[in-house]
Subunit: 455 residues, 2 copies
């Protein structure tokens, strides 16, 4: 048999269901709380922001949730995505480990984000929503939702953090191509934006401010809802098409991973690749190690605390039980913009609390070095976010070599780096400096929280 | 049967041979001439620049040239590339025509260029060459060759036109990631560069100057050869993997194209998609119309003359029998940088002369409009070069509608537009202005040629 580089599936093998890990995890998640009453929130609290179908998915305990045919039809543009065997990267590392990567950069927006953007836009369309709002930092999520809204005829307003809007215009142009309106945040479109601008006309903005603006618009404008690209249960569930396909692809080559690795921001690409394998751990007694690779500059999983906290800087969202560094924590301006988030999704947090997944943190320079090594062997230039997973793969592959074990390692290559060339240039020309935060600095914002640590 | 969006082939269906159209075309090409002696050039004239295997391919009349296993192994990173059916684009055009596109943007460098960069680097490596030089404009070719040289351990020097080097740094960074050295041209590395800089220290450079520098370095530095990304016979032949795969993919869905369309710069992506179909025309009596879509600002096929001319501005290359606007013709700064070339490859020129292919020209604004329509229906954002093919598809699809005929149209989507966001922004914000050149302006440089028109 010829040695396969890419393991492909036909379109009919696009999953017919998303996998809902809430059906199988040993301990259910704790409820999210209303910030005012401190009582568990119900569907009615979320209804102003999300269509009812997504709210149902958010709390469902059903194991399999059907993927609508209209969504599967759009998935066909890039799904099933290829699973690659990293022969050349293995050679470079001189490791006995077999390394595979699932490549999500083949989507039109260049990352895994459209996996959830498409169903979110679809359910909003089905419920008659005419406009969506969202926030975006560097622009991965904003461009994915622009792509999706355009296909379903939904208007989209994206509030993009001013500093990114000014410094990284290419993602903005991409959103414009798909017809989205992109506003520099803080903007004069909302009361929260105007308030900030009145205090500081030169405010650089923040993700927290952008969320406030997007939420305010969704609540005050007619026939408008809000969409989020990570953290929430339904978002993580939509991403499970990644892992479900991968399980089938391993069957084709009669292999199976010992270790599954994903980079970690809010949890969506990590959940996408790992939850289906965790499901096999829970239901079939498999023993796959799932490792979340997070940046050392924003290490909520390895250095944060498990406690109730807000999802946004301003404190508008429900209080969620999650690993957090405090909702006022502002991470360093690392180039992996998609990982600069203070907290972890509730599902992933519960799994980590229960020791069912692992987490490791990696410094930026080590990650870019890993990314370059990968690009020079496998050819594909990874997104800075994805290089965190690659750094973790190197660590585990070298450990396997040291121990003389024959591990099979899988990671999710969540996106390409075509929009991150200046980050690579900064690395290659020696301009990237590493800031090592002390534990005191990392925990400063946790001290400001008035919620107890969950035991 | 489920409606297929993507028609995929397994890796074993990567072609085992390239198709050499020289075996089948009714009239052979005229010889290229030595610029000094005006005598037909022989292998010895090309030996300082190219490895012998490529020189053999350049003049071979064998129909099938075997693709080395090492090259096929690297092709597996992105080949066979997908063939898509453009259902949504068809709906938008409300046409009875079926539209298919072969997508070459899946390669690590983002275009079809690695199809020839990989074998060129391979044959140089086999013959012990340690360093290659090349020129690049906007950077598509330079990045493809960087990708390929890195995999075979060959050092690469890229001479990048200064105005692009300064204004479009992202392709340069991409080349650096794969380890290439990129110099702003004119540079102080070569005598030709230093001469230009002495006359004008602020020279913006040109492709002609960059070619001179790359050729000079190849000839004067030890163990160094030169590589070209289009125009030459062997380059066009390497691209035929595109069309060969497509023929197999059509068999899978029991369809066959009436019309095949590719955008046109020097001829490489057009040849890649069309030559295998022309081969079926010649050998099996098929009747596929093959249309080259070129920019109205650089219309050598539709408005140029068939005569002997140089391949470079400075006049260092052999004299080639080709459709040309004159080697001193400097096209407008349109955003489709890959199509800004004064001449057409010899093979394509002979085919056009013999009325075996067609050519149409398209204005920039029409092309961007076509690109936006495509991105908003099919999702993929096309390179500005590829939008010329899309504009041609729209024209032919609407003609089919008018005539009430059921045509099957295929085009080559030669690359993605992720590095061309500012071009799209210029279009969407109304900043692109169309210059319509008069026939007098288009023919001004032809008047300077002292070679006769070939009857």
């Amino acid at each position: 048999m010829e040695k396969l580089k890419k393991i492909l599936l036909p379109e009919k093998d696009i999953p017919e269901n998303w996998y809902n890990i809430q059906a199988d995890m040993p301990n259910p998640t704790l409820p999210s709380l209303h910030p005012g009453t401190k009582q568990p929130i119900g569907p009615q609290d979320l209804a102003p922001l999300f269509p009812m179908e997504l709210i149902k998915q958010e709390v469902s305990k059903e194991r399999w949730i059907g993927i609508p045919e209209e969504v599967r039809d759009i998935y066909k543009i890039w799904r099933p995505s290829p699973l690659f065997r990293a022969y050349e990267f293995e050679k470079l590392l001189d490791t006995p480990a077999k390394i595979y990567y699932k490549y999500e950069g083949v989507s039109p927006a260049g990352s895994h984000k459209p996996n959830t953007a498409v169903p979110q836009a679809y359910y909003n369309m089905k419920e008659g929503v005419k406009r969506l709002t969202t926030e975006t930092g560097a622009g991965q999520w904003g461009s994915a939702l622009s792509f999706a809204c355009n296909l379903f005829g939904i208007d989209l307003e994206v509030y993009m953090v001013k500093v990114s809007y000014d410094q990284k215009p290419y993602r903005k142009f991409m959103m414009n191509i798909w017809g989205a309106k992109v506003f520099s945040s803080p903007s004069d479109k909302t009361e929260s934006g105007r308030k900030i601008l009145a205090e500081d006309p030169n405010s650089p903005g923040s993700l927290g401010i952008a969320i406030s603006e997007a939420v305010e618009r969704a609540v005050t404008a007619g026939n408008t809802k809000y969409a989020l690209g990570s953290v929430l249960n339904h978002v993580l569930m939509h991403q499970t098409v990644i892992g479900l396909e991968t399980i089938k692809q391993f069957e084709l080559v009669d292999d199976f991973p010992d270790i599954v690795i994903g980079c970690f921001g809010g949890g969506s690409n990590f959940a996408g690749i790992s939850f289906p394998f965790l499901g096999l751990n829970f239901r079939e007694g498999k023993n796959v190690r799932c490792i979340a690779a997070e940046p050392s500059s924003c290490p909520k999983l390895t250095k944060g605390q498990f406690r109730y906290d807000f999802g946004d800087t301003a404190g508008f969202t429900p209080l969620m039980p999650m690993y957090t560094l405090g909702h006022t924590f502002i991470p360093e301006s690392i180039h992996a913009g998609g990982l600069r988030y203070h907290g972890a999704g509730v599902l992933v947090s519960q799994l980590l609390k229960d020791n069912l997944i692992e987490a490791q943190d990696f410094h930026q320079l080590e990650c870019f070095d890993a990314g370059i090594k990968f690009a020079r062997t496998e050819g594909i230039i990874p997104a800075p976010e994805s290089t965190h997973a690659i750094a973790c793969v190197i660590k585990e592959a070298l450990k396997a070599k040291e121990e003389g074990t024959h591990k099979t390692i899988l990671f999710n290559l969540s996106g390409h780096g075509f929009f991150d060339m200046s980050a690579y240039d900064a690395y290659l020309s020696g301009k990237l400096v590493e800031h090592h935060l002390t534990e005191k600095e990392l925990h400063a914002d946790l001290k400001k929280l008035n919620t107890p640590v969950i035991p």
